[in-house]
Amino acid sequence: MSTETQSPVLVAGEPGAPIRARRRLPRYAPLGLYAAGIALGAALSALTGFSTALTVVYGAVLGTLAVYAGSRAVEGGRKATDRLVTALVTTAFAIAMIPLVSLVYTVLEKGLARFDATFFSNSMYRVVGEGGGAYHAIFGTLIITALTAVISVPIGLLTAIYLVEYGRGRLKRAITFFVDVMTGIPSIVAGLFAFALFTLVFGNDVRLGVMGAVALSVLMIPVVVRSCEEVLKLVPNELREASYALGVPKWRTVVKVVLPTAVAGLGTGITLAVARVVGETAPLLVTVGLITGTNLNPFDGRMATLPVFAYYQLTQPGTATQAFLDRAWTAALLLIILVMALNVVARLISRFFAPKTGR
């Protein structure tokens, strides 16, 4: 028996009954096999004109196959399958990183060309070639987003309060279900809704900043409701009961006890909801349009917004094509910065305003 294996192991309590030691690939084996795979991949890709991407692909495939074969020979089929799946799953994650890295790199590379003071201080008024900027679009986006938040936050927050504190029965279930369904409304449909609504009221060809805010609200309200609802549910019931026991009316309990306890989560949720709508393009395209000058009044005519500005700079460049493309990419970069900043702010809110616990 014991001669069959290199290192027989005696199981304690069963004298004289050696079992086969679990044979494993040495730790460095996968590393070595992958290195060999990469080397072979480099050689293979050199046959068709060397490229790094092809080398990595060949290397990953060959290395994985080699590890699978080696593991199958030494460790058996089950272990080999396990290793194969590990490789596949890790690859899936790596593949998902490619577009993210590539996108951020591209936007940075192309967007930094015009990331200058002119871009932030000038509008496109009477600009046909180089120069010009997105001053009008930046303020348009800020105003419309602020207006959207003014509409959405009270409605969303109150609905969340209703769902958590008051709601019961069929109405609650209906609201929960349809709020979920509403999160899936395509943004362009929300834009068409605002268009149809305002067309019925004001007649044809109306374009207003506030239309955009209404369209974005359709997208933002469900997000606010869902995140606020989750946060309010986390407020411990003991706090509410303590408040009732002191004779505090329900509405004051909600306003003075529940909301302050949840304020960090509410802030985070609302900030993330703003981040979700700030980059929306399609609804603004059909409701707000675009102008070259600065219009800061959302109740009077077309406005410029950053996403729509970026879209038109890219798709309808004038004669000085490169100038338009540069502005488009800078606007895209600014959008990403805006969204990322809102995400970071959301994280900071949840860190610094979180209720003190652990007493």
Binding site: R78, L100, T106, Y166, S187, L192, L285
Partner: protein, 317 residues
């Protein structure tokens, strides 16, 4: 007990001094909830009211001259083609990512990795369009050529290959990247909720990590993955700007993914034509938007129904 209630006049009822503040607050909270339902109904109602002129107009007046069905049908084909392609690419990847983050990644950095994947969802769709046009489409041109040459016998790769790469195939991949975080977020959540006892029991019986996942995690997470995929499908169906920027549209209904002329999608068609549209064109576009609304609503309701059914019976709560 109530039967022995004393006949003596009971002290004045203590309950329910309905304070004004309470009534106002509860009323406004309930009102907001009902308002949301009204908004959803309003979306449908206003779309219908703006679409009616196109629904009743004679066929010749609809752009294209073949009536509303003839106008919308190729768009529906394009919409479904792009979204299904995205779903086929994104779902396996998203499951892999979710498994990696929940069970394979080093514990310390797993949360950060999840956050990085979520960043994909935060990037505005117009920026994805920029990226698809400037990076992905040119990068895929060699693949288009290869597919047309070597896989030409498949209807999807009938060719001739587009020289710009602005095809349905590229759009499908861009959409796949966009819905990846949605599917993987939900998959991650259900995978991490798989009962610890099942997982530990599997490992204790000597299962490898993959066997543990196959036996304890995947069966538990299946409906969650399906629901996540459907939510992603809903998102891909309605995605507008990325498609509008990347796709070179204009063709009728075709399954060819790599041609230089592709069926447009409903949403991108609206975005491209609406700003310049007048008269009956506007109504036609709104009618096509109504079709999109109905499709996505159905997909989303189905997805939510699956999610909720799972929540009721999972035993996780």
């Amino acid at each position: 007990m109530t039967a022995t209630k004393a006949p003596t006049p009971s002290p004045p009822q203590q309950r329910a001094v309905r304070r004004l503040g309470d009534r106002v607050f509860a009323g406004s909270a309930k009102g907001s909830g009902i308002f949301i339902l009204l908004v959803l109904a309003g979306v449908a109602a206003f779309l219908v009211s703006e679409a009616i002129p196109a629904l009743t107009a004679p066929a010749e007046e609809i752009p294209g001259g073949e009536g509303l069905t003839g106008y919308v049908a190729p768009l529906i084909v394009g919409t479904l083609l792009g979204a299904v392609l995205a779903l086929l690419v994104a779902t396996p990847l998203a499951v892999g990512i979710a498994l990696y983050i929940t069970y394979y990644a080093p514990r310390r950095i797993a949360a950060t990795m999840g956050y990085v994947i979520d960043l994909l969802a935060a990037i505005p769709s117009v920026v994805y369009g920029f990226w698809g046009l400037a990076v992905l489409a040119p990068a895929l041109v060699p693949f288009h050529r290869w597919a047309a040459d070597d896989l030409g016998w498949l209807p999807f790769f009938a060719g001739p290959a587009s020289a710009s790469g602005r095809t349905m195939l590229t759009v499908g991949l861009v959409l796949a990247v966009m819905i990846l975080p949605i599917i993987s977020a939900i998959a991650r959540e259900v995978f991490s909720q798989a009962p610890a006892l099942h997982r530990e029991a599997a490992l204790a019986l000597g299962a490898t990590r993959w066997e543990m996942i196959k036996m304890a995690v995947l069966p538990y997470g299946r409906s969650g993955v399906i629901a996540g995929a459907m939510l992603g499908l809903g998102r891909a169906l309605g995605e507008t700007m990325a498609v509008a920027i990347v796709l070179s549209g204009g063709a009728g209904a075709t399954l060819n993914l790599i041609g230089s002329s592709n069926p447009s999608t409903i949403a991108s068609n609206i975005a491209l034509r609406f700003p310049e549209a007048t008269g009956i064109d506007v109504n036609t576009l709104v009618a096509s938007g109504l079709v999109l609304f109905v499709i996505t609503l159905a997909v989303n309701m189905l997805a939510r129904w699956i999610v909720n059914r799972r929540a009721d019976f999972s035993g996780a709560n």
